[in-house]
Each structure stands twice: as structure tokens, then as C-alpha cells.
Symmetry: C2
Subunit: 407 residues, 2 copies
């Protein structure tokens, strides 16, 4: 969309250049009380915002990112030139989360490695990176930081929180923990708890990192290399779970990478295209992600269990008056439709407002990042309806006025 | 079943004590011509037989074992005391493969590590283990060795060949390559080619081995440890694919290993039971399997493509007059029902004799090893019918006699 003469200039449907902002929260003596019981602070939070907060502060939407995402949801960073944010197709002027109408916020998660305090941050007590001395973080702890950021931005009630995968877990936890802080909840390709199979894949990924000799029990920050091999392996196995068998078959099948015939060579680890692709994914991942953060965040996923504290999912969410929208994807085998339906069923029984759609897609778990149009068609009317309700609740005459027009 | 006084004495339904036998085939100048074009020999073959070969030599059944199996299908080895063979519940007196009636043969596969020549065998040219200098082996090469063993045993035509998973691939290849060598073909939980997703998991497993510093490019036999860490990781990820999500959920769910509450400890890699179980599986596996064999055999799986040479599966199998029986398992996501049905459809179109059953099981790919009763109910009548046909074909008066009785 940008032309050659001005490569930083974004197209009409882009937010354009954006910058990550920073704020420090939970400073002494107001440390965050983590779910493990540990008090932790200060916490630096990296976040981005797009669009303009309305005078009534009723148009803010918080995006919760997934396992390896970050605060850079949309637009471009100057230093990365044309590299757009991870949900750039969904967030921007006229898009699903329309920045002409809404004020969109996203923050890097606690224990991440993209600006928010995490294992690679300097521990002020030692002057060294935390490494594995970083405290054990849960989805609830992540949400508490997000919630505090929203308050810091002067917003009492978000119009919506939205997220997929680990982001969807945050959305659910947020609705349970701070039910009055949002008017709508959009939970995509997620679950009230990770399946045992999902935990199993995480166990293998962490094992690959732990057993990399360069991991050195998390103290690798002075090393030029670090546990690149183990982290790449963890990413390779996880990446398989993000794709569907059909999408792998369609994209790669049994096609070979550099030849029309088999090589009969035991060393040929990238002979099939799928092998080459996975190696590339692993290699690219270690350039942008920290192994200790990966360990912390996959542990948070494993631990997440929405029903645990309250007994049932319905009881956990019963205090929320938000409009819930859940979506799953037919070919997602990491977070299945059955898991979404479990939440929907509990919400219905708890007499909450809930809609659910199973979207047809061959793209597996990654579908929530890739299938933008059907998502727009679901989210746009929910946001419009919710904002209307919020406006009417604030000023009942609005409703009467609308009633007059309609009558 | 064995009583305390005689712990080697098997129960009534066991074959009892068995021994692995050895034979050397493909001696100079009759080396095996591998599919890669390399000539290879001599090849030592480890095999076991149970039951008695009939005077007509028409009751022999060859069992093809899966990726990490071996020739020890049933009964007990003296040195392992009560540890039974891997399909002991299915093979024995009065069992699915009834050793009172049939002569059952199983051989360790070429490039394996249980007695048949493989990477851990001594290369007579160097006096050292082959390691990764072992030639690249295909499913077809494995089958050629099995076929030669059958001839060596003086058997012209097997009553049946049977196998699951990689064993099922061997069965299919055998029927295509030597169509006159068997009267029945039983192919369980297999496919005409591995899915791209299956290749992806194998790529990750081999990568874990290759990147283990103790792998040393396959030359680890003088090392006391070897690539135990990488091989265990490979097994852990593979093991997940052998189970179904339901079986993992039922068996482990989110239950904890040694505690009733979460530990909030980043080091706790075996906190959930599923993690502990996978670690145990990995650890146990490295005691019994060779990493180089694992590399060779997963490569053979990746390369297998029944249709490749002939154009279609139907064309590959069109010269076989065997009775085909295929079975898949509802919860098997590594070798799906769709993949079995692809073969069935091609066999029907090629006017072959084929039966197919999808068996209901929650046990995933491992079901063919675990769900014995439904398997018996399928295989027993097939064997009886096939033997009857073989007898009648040899001596048409048998048929007439039977006709008289029936008429």
C-alpha cells in the first residue's frame, strides 16, 4: 500500500506509524500481590493505543494478546519499517476494531519479553536479569496488570475486552475477576482450561528448553547464543499444534523442498517442505522471543482453570453483565469447539448474555489470526449494540429518543 | 497366571518361554539391492516363531511390528522373566492369532536395534558400528528382508501378513511388491502414506536427537550415555501422537502428581501427572532403543508412499488376490479413518477382496495394541475363511466334499 517514494507512509486503511508507550505500575509500597502469594513490583508495562478516547470514555477496547504476541497489534513501527502489527488486518480505520470509532489498547503481558517486566528485565534488587528467579505468573496476575493499566488510563469501564488463545483465557479471567470493568467480552479459540493434551505439548516444549545445555538454568543473558536450539524445538512442536492437519496437507503435503526426487540421505532434515518450514519457524522465533518468558507463559497457560476457585465456570462469570461472544474454529484441535461450548453452556445456565459461533476454517488454531472477515462480521455488530446499550444506560433519554424515531 | 513356585511357567493361554532366533541372509555376492540403489549385505535377521508349521505349510502368519517394536511378539523370554511380548494378548493358544492352529512369525525390521542388522551393528568393513553411515532404508527394503526370511523358512505362501502403524505400511508394501506371497492382508491403523502432520512430528523428533550434543553425528556408541536427552524428547512428542485427547484427559486430566495443590514453581516439570508420565515414557524408551535406529525408521515412515511407483494405490495392489482387511480406530488422529478409507476405496475400484471396519475406541493410535477383543472378532473369521479357500484351491475335492455336506 505504501509507495516506493515514501515507504513509511501507510495506506488509507492503516493506523500508520505507532509507538509503544511505557508506564510503571505497582511501585513500592503498592506491589502486586501475585496468585502465588508473592508481592511483586514495580512493574513496567509496555502498551500501545490506537484511535481516540471519547469524552465519555466509553469507546475503549482492550486487546489481550496470545502466547508469543506483544503490544504492537496494528500499524507500523518506524524502526521496523513496513512490518505491521500482529492483528493489523483486524484493527484500523474502518476495520473490525474500527479505530475511527474506538480507542484500542493492548499491553505486553506480565512475564513477557516485549517491554513489560519479565524474566529478561533487570531485577532492581540484584542489578541482573531475573531469569528463572522471576516469580511464577498466572493468567490472573497478567489480568491484574492489564486492569491496573486501564485504570491508569482513566477508563472506568471498557467497551470490550477481546482476545484469542491465551488472550481468550485472559478475557475470561478478566470477566470473572473484574466483572464491572467491561461491557462486552469476546473470547476466540480459547478454553476455560488447557486440555491435558495441550499441557503435554507444553511439557515437551519446556523440556526441550530445559535440556539445552546453553539454557544454564535460565542464566544465559550474558551468553551470545543462549538456548536457541531448545527454544526453536519448543516452537516447532507448538507450531504443529497451531496448524490443522488439513492446512499442513494443503500447504505442504509431501512436497520436497529443493528437488523433484527423494535424496535417501539421513542428514536431509529439511527435505520435505514441512520440515523446512518448521525449521524456519523455529529459527525465526528465537530471534524474537526469550526462552525464560516462554517457560513462564506456558506455565501460566497450564495453570489456568477458570472454574477452579468458584467451583464452576458459571459461578466464576455470574457477576458479569457483559455481552459475551465466543467463537471457535472447526479445524482447531488445540482449543476445540467442545471447549468453547462448555463455557457457553455454563453462561446460559448462569443466565448471562452469550452468543456463540463455530467458524468454518481449515487453518487450525491460527484461524483467529488469519480469518479476519468472518471475525469482523461477528465483532462489529456486537460492539455497536454494546455501545448503544452503554449510551442508553448512561442517558435513558437516548433510548426514548430512539424509541420515538422507531415508533 | 504363573504361580510363585515356578515364575517362568506361563499360564494356559500363553505360548510360554520363547527364544529369538537368528539367520544371516543376503550374503556376498547376493546382497540386497536397496531402493536407494545401494547394495547391502550380509543382513542378520532376528526373528521368533510360535506354533507349528503345517505339513502343507499353509498356516503361516507373518506379523509386521511397528516403529519401536521387535520380533518378540508373544510369550516370555527367560532373561526377562515374566515380561511378555508386545502383542501377547493377541497371539497365543486360543487367542486372535491362535498358535494351536497357526505358525506365527515376526522379525525385527532392517535398521532396527533388536537383533536385525541396523546402525548399532558392527560394519564388517570397518569393525565399528555403522552409526549414520548405515544406508538409507525404506519400508520396501524392510519388506524385502521379511520376504527373504519367509522363503528361507521354506514357506511359499503365507496365510496372512498382519501389522499396525509402520507394520501396516509394511503389510501394504508387501502385498504390492510380492502379491503372490500371502493369501490375506490385515492392515491396522495405517495409511498408504504418512500425513504431512505425521512427517512434521517426525521432523521434530529427529531434530531433538540431532541437536543433542551427545548425539555426535551418530557416533556415540563408545560413550556411556549417548543422546538420551534428545531421544527421550523425541519419544515424548511421539507418545502424545499415539494417545487421543480423550484418553489423555481420562487418564490424567489436570491431576497433579505428588500434591493436591499447585506449587507455583517454574522448575516443576512433572507437576501435572501427564508431564510425569511423559517424562517416564521418555526415560524408559532410551533404555531400550537406539537413536540412530529411530532416525532410520522414522525416515522410512516419511518416505513411504504406496501409490508413488504405480500411480495409484489401486494399481499398486491390483496384482494381489489376497483377502484384505483394514481397520481404523475412531480416536486415532495420527493414522485416521479417512486414510484407511482411501485404501479401501482404491481396492474396491481395483475389484479386490476388501473388508473395512472402523472400531470405536478412545485409545488413539495405540488402540491396535490395546483393544484386543474386537480385533480377534475381526481377524479370526478372516483367517478361517482364507485357510478354507487356500485348502480348497489346493484340493478342489475339499470344496466338493464341503458342498456335499452342505447340499
Amino acid at each position: 500500500m505504501a509507495n516506493d517514494d515514501s515507504e513509511f507512509e501507510p495506506g488509507d486503511d492503516s493506523i500508520g506509524l505507532v509507538e509503544t508507550q511505557q508506564v510503571t505500575l505497582f511501585e513500592t509500597p503498592n506491589e502486586l500481590c501475585l496468585e502465588s502469594g508473592v508481592k511483586f513490583g514495580p512493574i513496567n508495562v509496555a502498551y500501545e493505543t490506537y484511535g481516540t478516547l471519547s469524552p465519555e470514555k466509553d469507546n475503549a477496547i482492550f486487546v489481550c494478546h496470545a502466547l508469543t504476541g506483544d503490544a504492537h497489534v496494528a500499524g507500523w513501527h518506524a524502526e521496523e519499517k513496513r512490518k505491521p502489527g500482529w492483528w493489523n488486518d483486524f484493527v484500523g480505520p474502518g476495520k473490525g476494531l474500527d479505530t475511527n470509532k474506538y480507542f484500542v489498547i493492548c499491553a505486553n503481558v506480565l512475564s513477557g519479553c516485549k517491554g513489560t517486566t519479565g524474566p529478561s528485565s533487570i531485577d532492581p534488587n540484584t542489578g541482573k536479569q531475573y531469569g528463572l528467579l522471576f516469580p511464577f505468573i498466572t493468567v490472573g496476575d497478567i489480568v491484574k496488570v492489564h486492569s491496573a493499566l486501564v485504570k491508569h488510563l482513566g477508563i472506568d469501564k471498557l467497551l470490550a475486552v477481546i482476545g484469542g488463545s491465551l488472550g481468550g483465557m485472559q478475557v475470561l479471567d478478566w470477566a470473572a475477576r473484574f466483572p464491572n470493568q467491561m461491557a462486552a467480552v469476546v473470547c476466540l479459540a480459547a478454553a476455560a482450561k488447557l486440555s491435558a493434551q495441550g499441557i503435554a505439548f507444553n511439557v515437551v516444549g519446556r523440556r526441550a528448553i530445559f535440556t539445552d545445555p546453553k539454557f544454564n538454568r535460565g542464566e544465559y543473558y550474558d551468553d551470545t547464543e543462549g538456548p536457541r536450539v531448545g527454544l526453536a524445538l519448543a516452537r516447532m512442536v507448538a507450531h504443529i499444534t497451531y496448524l490443522s492437519d488439513v492446512s499442513i496437507e494443503d500447504k505442504f503435503g509431501r512436497r520436497l523442498q529443493h528437488s523433484s526426487h527423494l535424496k535417501y540421505d539421513l542428514d536431509q532434515e529439511t527435505e520435505f517442505q514441512i520440515g523446512s518450514y518448521l525449521h524456519y519457524q523455529g529459527k525465526r522465533f528465537v530471534e524474537r522471543f526469550d526462552a525464560n518468558s516462554y517457560i513462564c507463559l506456558t506455565h501460566a497457560m497450564d495453570y489456568f482453570d477458570l472454574a477452579e476457585e468458584c467451583g464452576t465456570i458459571g459461578q466464576a462469570l455470574q457477576n458479569s453483565d457483559a455481552n459475551f461472544l465466543l467463537a471457535s474454529y472447526t479445524s482447531d484441535w488445540l482449543f476445540t469447539t467442545t471447549q468453547s461450548l462448555e463455557i457457553v453452556s455454563e453462561l446460559v445456565k448462569a443466565k448471562r448474555n452469550v452468543s456463540f459461533v463455530e467458524l468454518a476454517s481449515s487453518k487450525g488454531h491460527d484461524a483467529f489470526l488469519l480469518e479476519i472477515e468472518p471475525l469482523e462480521q461477528l465483532v462489529r455488530p456486537l460492539l455497536e449494540r454494546t455501545r448503544q446499550e452503554v449510551t442508553e444506560r448512561r442517558d435513558p433519554s437516548e433510548k426514548a429518543a430512539r424509541g420515538d424515531h422507531n415508533g
